[in-house]
Symmetry: C2
Subunit: 454 residues, 2 copies
């Protein structure tokens, strides 16, 4: 294989690759907003066109009950293994929009970084796979292995459609590759072997039948906002301990190797956490090392609270109803549906008297731990070492990619979790960005990975 030719192709097409990514990023495919459905579909159609341009002529949209899937395949490498490649083309909402330095759907390059919602999560990472395929196809006239590409539009919205598809459609393959993770820093490649699951809920508290005046009723009225504060403070204390009976029972004991990595923190990730967050101390369970807390411990977070008056000025209202969006991140073995039941029970028990509480399961997904000593993982490691000049770190990530657990359970094939994001990419936050060095190194790495899989 001629790496020089590949390098030349990437260099010559660097700008085209970037423009193709920008075109995709301009489509505001926010999967959780019902009003964005047409944009989500446009983003799927864009992916089909890009696949065809990359030489995957068999590429199409697959209708679902929700947002469409994008599927493509190239099976011309007779006798070679088949790699299933996964990514998602939907993005998170953009609030608070006033904090973006450039508009979220007008991709802008500043200082070698591409700023846009979805730049890192996950359009940038999917596009680099497309461009690796295009490079191999155009340089060699072929691909070294067979590929099936499955891109979903509901990763940020529960992923029901792909779950249904994977469970009901034969998708024979020899390995799966998910490009939706990150590295500790630009110099340190990483392969992810663990992901957390998630249970995303909404807690609704009802007090009186209508909003009340705090002058007239303050002293006898139930206040749903106060009740929520009590529930939330009882669910997780100031030291980060979650008080949901049974929650910690199934947390798997870490290996000696993991414990040592977390305690020694050879990549100085603790220091990076402080810098990325701009704080002087870390929060959470002090008795566990920070790396364990973010990747292998259950955590609980409040994402937003509604009810009452939040406009400018003052209003002395006691609201009739208040809600909180609360999610849990779950290490493998804690099943999302079971945790929801424990959560619902705990919330009802922790609620103060005088209010009624309703708990809704918005969406969920399972965590996973993948086998590290498989041929595909070793091929990915070798590719990373070739491009970055350093063997990758094997790490667990705290985010949730439920499709990894699903592939593992349904397809029963080795999984490769390799991505090129960086910790300060501002995923789900204002000013999301993707480092362009990572974009191009990602193309190089994936091209090499596919060759090493042959």
């Amino acid at each position: 294989m001629d790496n020089t030719a590949i390098e030349t192709y990437i260099t010559q097409h660097a700008n085209d690759f970037l423009e193709d990514l920008k075109g995709w990023l301009r489509i505001p495919s926010i999967s959780t907003l019902p009003e964005a459905a047409a944009d989500v579909r446009r983003a799927a159609e864009y992916a089909v066109e890009q696949l065809k341009q990359s030489g995957i002529e068999h590429a199409e949209i697959i209708q679902t009950k929700g947002h469409p899937l994008v599927y493509g395949e190239w099976l011309g490498a007779s006798g070679q293994p088949t790699l299933l490649i996964y990514g998602h083309y939907d993005v998170q909402p953009v609030d608070p929009i006033e904090l973006w330095e450039s508009p979220p759907f007008e991709p802008t390059v500043r200082d070698g970084k591409l700023y846009s919602r979805g730049a890192a999560d996950d359009k940038g990472q999917v596009m680099l796979v497309f461009k690796a395929l295009e490079t191999l196809k155009n340089v060699t006239g072929s691909l070294p292995i067979n590929v099936k590409i499955l891109i979903e539009g509901e990763e940020e919205a529960g992923g029901e459609s792909i779950e249904h598809y994977v469970k009901t459609t034969p998708l024979s393959c020899d390995a799966a590759f998910i490009c939706d993770t990150h590295m500790p820093n630009k110099e340190t490649p990483a392969l992810i072997y663990g992901l957390r699951g998630i249970t995303y809920t909404e807690v609704e508290v009802q007090g009186a039948k209508q909003d009340l005046h705090s002058g007239s009723y303050g002293g006898v009225a139930p206040n749903p906002l106060h009740a929520l504060a009590i529930i939330i403070s009882r669910l997780k204390d100031a030291d980060g301990h979650i008080h949901i009976p049974g929650l910690y029972d199934k947390v798997r004991k870490p290996t000696h190797e993991e414990k040592e990595f977390w305690h020694k923190d050879p990549l100085h990730i603790n220091e990076a956490y402080l810098q990325e967050m701009g704080v002087t101390q870390l929060s959470g369970e002090l008795e566990y090392p920070p790396l364990e807390r973010t990747s292998a411990r259950p955590t609980l977070e409040v994402h937003g609270i509604t009810g009452g008056f939040v406009g400018e000025g003052a209003k002395t209202v006691i609201p009739a109803v208040a809600t909180a969006k609360i999610s849990l991140r779950l290490p493998p073995d804690l099943r999302s549906g079971e945790v929801f039941k424990l959560f619902e029970k705990a919330v009802k028990e922790l609620a103060p008297a005088g209010v009624t509480v309703k708990v809704t399961n918005i969406h969920g997904g399972e965590g996973t731990l993948v086998e590290r000593n498989t041929k595909p993982v070793q091929a990915a490691a070798a590719a990373l070492e070739e491009v970055y000049g350093k063997a990758p770190a094997f790490m667990r990530e705290g985010g949730s990619i439920p499709i990894a657990a699903l592939f593992s359970e349904i397809l029963q094939v080795p999984i490769v979790l390799m991505g090129f994001g960086l910790p300060d990419d501002n995923l789900h936050a204002p000013n999301e960005k993707y480092d362009l060095d990572q974009f191009y190194n990602g193309i190089r790495t994936v091209a090499s990975f596919l060759q090493k899989m042959a």
Copy 2:
């Protein structure tokens, strides 16, 4: 004095009176919304016109640094006392607007009740005073006593301008009458002898320097929403006890008579509370009777919480900043400014580690207890008994009318707190209403009150 002539005039002009009130209610004079400033001014101009129509020819707008005051006087009753009459023409915001059965600024009569923002608080109550003046003036050609009328446009927004005016302008008078309170029910007139003060605050909590992804940072990130929940739950526990050191020190011991009234609850107000709120139990400090809790105890309420994501769907954000609007109602002797300092200190002490907290004093006002055995109060009691056929109950109210304390301190004259609102008027809530029987009985009572003051 010819009561028949007065009754005839009121009956003949009943519809005109209502139309004049509706015209005022159509002006959305929300004093806390900067964008409503022009409407607030229009409402002031409308009041001037109404005063002139009522025979108070000397009526004018007084400019202030904030919303204008409306002032009128008629001093033609030589040798008679001068009564200062107070009310406010500004109204509360209307959220949540979707719960209004008819639009808040399209006054609508249903079942003998006038629905509109401001119908009861306080335009309806001010208009009935204007109409009592008009009735007396047109029936008798004169007024039995001298009157000065002072109407403000910042009652719902801190009332700074009227405070400055009263402190800097000689306003000689023999008594002050505030028409901004309510009765326990339509059959039971009441005079108010106590009001609570208020301290309205905003607590802002800052965690990381920007919003974070709960997958990447859950376990080490400070969560300002969680910190607020902890602060709020520590400020007031589930039993309604407020944990602000020093707060309860100055709460005045109730009299034996007060204690008996609260314990016996002869007007069945506890039962009314349950019905009005649609709940099966009352919240708050169980060791105090409900009437004491709503009128003579300090209370603390959360009015709204911002931060993170509250849209449809799911977003796994840990917000950088969260805020809560929190107010305290204060029995007399607890000074608003002093309580703010105690509150600020407590919030900072109760905040969990890892976040920074800023506390802002949005506005405040003092509570008051007025003397019951004064000539003006006795005249009001006699007028109420004449119209309602029953001696009024003497009660304390839980709301705040800081002008009462100010009049008491600056003018050093007896205060009459007489109003015709009802407990289910939905003050500060959707579907605010004013009972039209109360409107017309209010006109009758005020006309009689002025005659008895002579």
